[in-house]
């Protein structure tokens, strides 16, 4: 039974991500943020649990366009993230990455990827580097259920297997690829089973339980650092919002979203903590504090200057 303090830390991290995404939703509605934005509401336990198991002073995550949660869980400051989405000079990439392709290597976040599956071989390559530098670094590639059908993911898995690379393949199985159910796109929807074809362990885990994710990833990290090679973790979760902001989710069957909402990780962990005897007021205080932090970060980012167009040709080459 993990300690309450650890669970409270998970809750705070998840709440920070949720508050961030809720603020992003407002900023998108107000027109301050423009373009396609993919929220991760409902999937927070994965980021929180996984990052708790990594040593982000050396390990690295390689997520997808749905990467705000990963970036925050890695410890990147919300203000720089808002600023990035708002196209501000203070954005974590000066506005160049945007919502779907930002990077924060100083926090162990080695880049979202907007090409489905493309991050998997890149993470494998980072893990390859780690086999040469004695650093013990581990790379974690995160991608969706739909990405499992991309050729690059297959190649990355076999490559990682045969070279025993310290990489963790983490599938965020939220049951949908954009507007299409994964169950319609595979015959075997237990995706972790594919690992056995490559000769490494695969497992399904509860992606709505940060502690379960932390434990599974910690074990995978231990394995990876020991030189035993990759692991495939299929974290079962659901998004409780559309694929992108504006997606009306007509494709979700009746009841699907309600079930997802009932199972989403923040409510669930809140109930668990109450059952463990934590006071409602303590949880309310946590939420209020995080919400204030996020509101403050958003306000500061909004006040920051826009990225300077005169810098736009810089940094193409060294």
């Amino acid at each position: 039974m993990p300690e309450t303090a650890a669970l409270l830390a998970h809750l705070e991290s998840m709440r920070r991500i949720r508050s961030f995404e809720e603020e992003v939703t407002r900023l998108r509605a107000s027109g301050d943020i423009v373009g396609s934005v993919h929220l991760c509401n409902g999937q927070e336990a994965i980021y929180t649990g996984a990052c708790a198991a990594l040593d982000l002073t050396r390990d690295a995550v390689f997520p997808t366009y749905r990467g705000h949660g990963w970036t925050l869980a890695c410890g990147a400051p919300p203000r720089a993230l808002f600023a990035e989405l708002l196209g501000r000079a203070t954005g974590i990439n000066g506005g160049r990455g945007g919502s779907a392709y930002l990077t924060a290597p100083e926090y162990g976040m080695y880049g979202e990827n907007s090409i489905v599956g493309a991050g998997a071989p890149i993470a494998a390559g980072a893990a390859l580097a780690a086999t040469f530098d004695g650093s013990g670094r581990v790379a974690l590639a995160a991608f969706g259920d739909g990405a499992m059908n991309q050729g690059a993911v297959h190649e990355a898995m076999n490559f990682a297997a045969v070279r025993s690379l310290p990489v963790i393949f983490l599938v965020e199985n939220n049951h949908y690829s954009e507007l299409t159910p994964i169950a319609d796109m595979v015959r075997v929807d237990r995706l972790f089973k594919r690992a056995s074809a490559y000769g490494f362990p695969g497992a399904r885990i509860d992606g709505n339980d940060p502690e379960a994710v932390r434990q599974a990833v910690a074990e995978a990290v231990r394995r990876a650092r020991s030189g035993a090679g990759p692991v495939l973790l299929e974290a079962m979760t659901q998004r409780i919002v559309g694929h992108y902001i504006g997606d009306a989710q007509h494709y979700r069957p009746a009841g699907d979203l309600d079930a997802a909402l009932a199972a989403e990780p923040i409510g669930r962990l809140t109930r668990e903590l109450l059952a463990l005897g934590v006071a409602q007021s303590e949880l309310d205080e946590l939420t209020a504090r995080v919400d204030r932090e996020i509101a403050d970060a958003s306000a500061r980012a909004l006040a920051d200057p826009l990225a300077d167009p005169s810098t736009v040709l810089e940094h193409l080459y060294a």
């Binding site: 373009g35 396609s36 934005v37 779907a100 990827n113 059908n149 050729g151 299409t180 990225a307 193409l316």
Partner: protein, 327 residues
């Protein structure tokens, strides 16, 4: 029987697809989210319902989509495959360049690959560097492929039908900023025309401005502004970048003696270079050096203010035209 309807660009594409599926029983339509959901941009709405299993969703597997199209075409179908963003075609580029383009030539026509790839490209506010490129130059360099960029609603309908009717692989590059940006009168049901052919969008005597894709709207805006200064630019829409309708371009340049080529793609290595080179080789006397307008060497940044600093604006285009005419 031809009729005219007031349609959005997306609806024009939809109408062409509906007609193709109705008139060509061998037509198939597939891609990610194109079936049941009707497409991420709503372009294929209703087609799954109307044509059943001939319209279907695929896994996120571009090599399977494009390779599947090649194989299905070899076996007598007429596949219309969607690649959601032109950027994504690069995960499966082999299937177009090394596979589709070779089928007819190597077999001397014993086999053919009459497939159509619908995709869309270009920058839109907030889009990231991996969702913003204009890649027509990569396709246009490949003998065996045909490549068009319909910009008007009518062309969205007409060129797509020409592509589907074509007995060779055709890449149709649309633009998502056009899909829902207003309605136009579109003639439906007319004769399906063979591929090729540029179109004059605005006649003028002072300078020939060749363009294609959504940038055309900025070119026309620039031309309209310059008319106030007494500069009459002839704006020509290439429509097809393979094959290029060089004759029409040359005829215009012979009249105006000036050439500006404007595209959203990166200038270096873009199709603009091909146009300028072809005109130069033809030896048409120019009154001033030709000018290319395109995106300078940079990746496309997400922040709208930054992207606007690299994607050619109406101002930048107007300046280039002015420079050419005043030279």
């Amino acid at each position: 029987m031809p009729e005219t309807k007031n349609l959005s660009y997306a609806e024009s594409v939809n109408a062409a697809l509906r007609r193709a599926l109705a008139e060509r029983p061998e037509a198939l339509l597939f891609g990610e989210d194109v079936g049941a959901p009707g497409g991420v941009f709503g372009v294929t709405k209703g087609l799954r319902k109307e044509f059943g299993d001939r319209v279907f969703d695929t896994p996120i597997s571009e090599s399977a989509i494009l390779g599947g199209a090649v194989g299905a075409a070899m076996f007598g179908r007429r596949p219309i495959a969607e690649i959601m963003w032109a950027d994504f075609s690069l995960v499966a580029f082999d299937q177009l360049v090394n596979q589709a383009a070779n089928v007819r030539y190597v077999s001397r026509g014993a086999l053919s690959a009459p497939l159509t790839v619908r995709t869309q490209q270009g920058n839109a506010p907030g889009a990231c560097a991996q969702h913003s490129q204009s890649l027509e130059a990569l396709f246009a360099h490949v003998p065996g492929l045909r490549v068009c960029l319909p910009t008007t609603h009518q062309d969205a309908y007409d060129l797509l039908l020409s592509a589907i009717w074509c007995d060779d692989p055709v890449i149709v590059i649309e633009n998502r900023t056009l899909y829902h940006a207003g309605k136009q009168e579109v003639r439906l049901g007319g004769e399906v025309r063979p591929i090729g052919g540029a179109a004059v969008r605005r006649p003028g005597r002072d300078v020939t401005v060749l363009t294609w894709g959504a940038l055309q709207h900025r070119v026309l805006e620039a031309a309209d502004r310059l008319a106030a200064d007494g500069i009459e630019a002839e704006v020509m829409d290439a429509r097809w970048v393979r094959p290029l309708d060089l004759d029409t371009v040359l005829a215009s340049v012979r009249r105006t003696g000036r050439l500006v080529v404007a595209h959203e793609a990166h200038t270096v290595g873009g199709v603009g270079g091909e146009v300028v080179a072809a005109v130069a080789e033809a030896g048409v006397p120019l009154r001033c050096p030709p000018v290319r307008v395109g995106t300078p060497d940079a990746r496309i940044p997400a922040a709208p203010g930054l992207a606007a600093a690299v994607i050619p604006s109406a101002e930048v285009i107007a300046e280039a035209i002015t420079k050419s005419v005043r030279a």
